[in-house]
């Protein structure tokens, strides 16, 4: 396959690049870089109908096309552009090889676990007060203790889950 630009940066270089983005977002614009926030700010469209007198959607999170929602849209376009330029853009329903060699070729299974997993990340991010971007990186960058507590929790939850999931995998 042709590679017009390098497909991958080293994790250190890509991380440093993200670090610059986070520094600009935090210091110049006064916004944490957020992944989970966008969905919280969209949730009110349904939530306010579900629980009309909810103090959460009235006072705690805004509803609408907020800064975080625009960041999410931008990140989709950014990844699309990066993937397009390195010839990695393609529609697919499944992850690459590892998933199916461990859990079989069922798309339904992958999509169900992806759905369940993303519900948990969004709820967990809400409870923690941020996600990998808005708490671990943005919080770590301003030396907030909570960021490091969150990272410890993330690995404490993720490691046993991965080992249980892969216990019977053939891979």
């Amino acid at each position: 396959m042709q590679r017009p630009t390098p497909r991958r940066l080293s994790p250190y270089a890509a991380g440093a690049g993200l670090g610059v983005v986070v520094a600009l977002s935090m210091a110049v614009f006064g916004h944490r870089l957020s992944g989970a926030g966008a969905y919280q700010h969209l949730s009110g469209f349904v939530g306010q109908r579900l629980v009309p007198d909810s103090m959460y959607w009235r006072h705690v999170v805004p509803t609408g096309l907020t800064w975080d929602v625009l960041v999410a849209i931008g990140s989709l376009v950014g990844a699309l552009t990066a993937a397009r330029l390195s010839g990695e853009l393609s529609l697919r329903t499944m992850p690459d090889r590892q998933w199916s060699s461990a859990f079989g070729p069922s798309v339904v299974r992958r999509w169900l676990l992806a759905f369940l997993g993303s519900i948990l990340t969004e709820i967990g991010g809400g409870i923690a007060g941020g996600c990998t971007a808005s708490l671990a990186v943005s919080g770590g960058a301003v030396l907030a203790p909570g960021a490091f507590v969150f990272m410890a929790g993330m690995f404490a939850g993720g490691i046993p889950t991965a080992f249980i999931a892969y216990r019977r995998a053939r891979e």
Partner: protein, 211 residues
């Protein structure tokens, strides 16, 4: 900020976010899940590199006088920890986090766009419904507030940034040194066809199992 800037700035910030997630390979299921299996430490390296660079960057922007009011995420030990655990379980099952869902979707991954995006929306609504029950209960434990290590230790932020940078560099250097030895298992990137076939029994495995 003008309305024009208020639209273009977050889109540009997001563009950079998605760009570096994709370039770092973070928008792949394998990269995320394999950090939890100790097979591929890309996530850890990426995360720590981002934290240290952003920490130095924010200090520099502050010195240059460009920095506005920098937001400090609040620390509440019970919430940060418990939320982190739930988050980690979800991340390990799905192979993504809320930020990488949009990036993966941009790469053309429908398992990110459809069940991923839908799940995040459902999760956000569920969290909103559960909020009145969950949050007051958790907030009682270990609530420290919007503070930094520099506040707590009453030292210059630069000192903590220097310490964090040094510790991270040392830790990552150690990881690279330790990880440079040939691994026991083939990495996930190698083609499955190049591995020893499953049909050929490996005597050492047999012996180890029967022992």
């Amino acid at each position: 900020m003008t309305p024009w800037m208020a639209t273009v700035a977050p889109l540009a910030i997001g563009f950079g976010f998605g760009w570096f997630l994709q370039k770092g390979g973070l928008s792949r299921y394998e990269t995320i899940v394999n950090v939890f299996r100790f097979r591929d430490l890309t996530v850890l390296k990426f995360l720590l590199s981002a934290v240290v660079t952003a920490a130095i960057g924010i200090r520099l922007l502050d010195v240059l006088g460009v920095a506005a009011e920098v937001p400090i995420p609040p620390t509440a030990i019970a919430g940060n920890l418990l939320g982190g655990v739930v988050f980690g379980v979800g991340m390990s099952l799905s192979g993504f986090c809320p930020g990488t869902v949009a990036a993966g979707a941009g790469e053309g991954r429908l398992d990110y766009l459809i069940p991923g995006g839908l799940g995040l929306c459902v999760g956000a609504v569920l969290y909103g419904v559960l909020y009145p029950e969950l949050v007051p209960a958790l907030a009682r434990w270990g609530r420290v507030g919007a503070v930094t290590f520099a506040d707590l230790l009453r030292v210059e932020p630069w000192l903590v940034v220097a310490l964090l940078t040094e510790l991270t560099a040392l830790g990552l250097y150690g990881l690279e040194r330790g990880g440079s030895r040939p691994s026991r298992r083939p990495s996930s990137h190698t083609d499955s066809r190049s591995r020893p076939t499953e049909s050929a029994p490996r005597p050492s495995d047999r012996a180890a199992r029967s022992a």
